[in-house]
Symmetry: C2
Subunit: 94 residues, 2 copies
Amino acid sequence: MNEVFQALSDPTRREILRLLRQRDMSAGEIAECFPLANSTLSGHFKILKHSGLIVSERSGTTIVYSLKVSAFEGMLAAVMELFEVDKEPKESKK
Amino acid sequence: MNEVFQALSDPTRREILRLLRQRDMSAGEIAECFPLANSTLSGHFKILKHSGLIVSERSGTTIVYSLKVSAFEGMLAAVMELFEVDKEPKESKK
DNA sequence: GTGTTATTTCGTTAATTGGCGAAATAACGA
DNA sequence: TCGTTATTTCGCCAATTAACGAAATAACAC
């Protein structure tokens, strides 16, 4: 889970996720959306993959990335656990 | 929102939030739960405060920290927006 | 095989981060 | 006022991070 929070801490990586939310995209397509070197984006893909938030599949000479929604569910659960969502009220206000 | 993701990216800070989920605590009480210098924890408090996830109130000579749940709601919404939660299905699987 | 395109890996660098101890600040009680 | 306690701020340092360009890899077409 640490890897997921880590992956989400960078704005560029969150934007990559936002792009993939709309449709699967190749590394090159994603790279065109940023003013960054391909190698830089590749590094971000690696981190996102390692966190489990995206998966890749080679299609000929291109590599297509896509969101892995199941990883998100775990993430959501962790965030909710972090706060008191789904717990009894705390009764501390005033 | 960037500050929130940034704040959540560190394990120590997430643990601080987890502690505060149970009850409000002073800086010293929180610090006792970690093998870190007080000054280090104070830095974490500062980041968490800046992100809006916690608030502080001085009580005599101690400073009491508490969770700010409303900030979490924004965070949750951002995470859900990041993924396709609450959107129509994507129709891409197989 | 050679060449082309798409992508990643490698090595470097500058900026950020998390840690520390020491000094500063704040509030209290004597 | 002078201590004492609680906490933060201030350098400082080591480790991590995000960026780059150049070189390496992979798949294809010829």
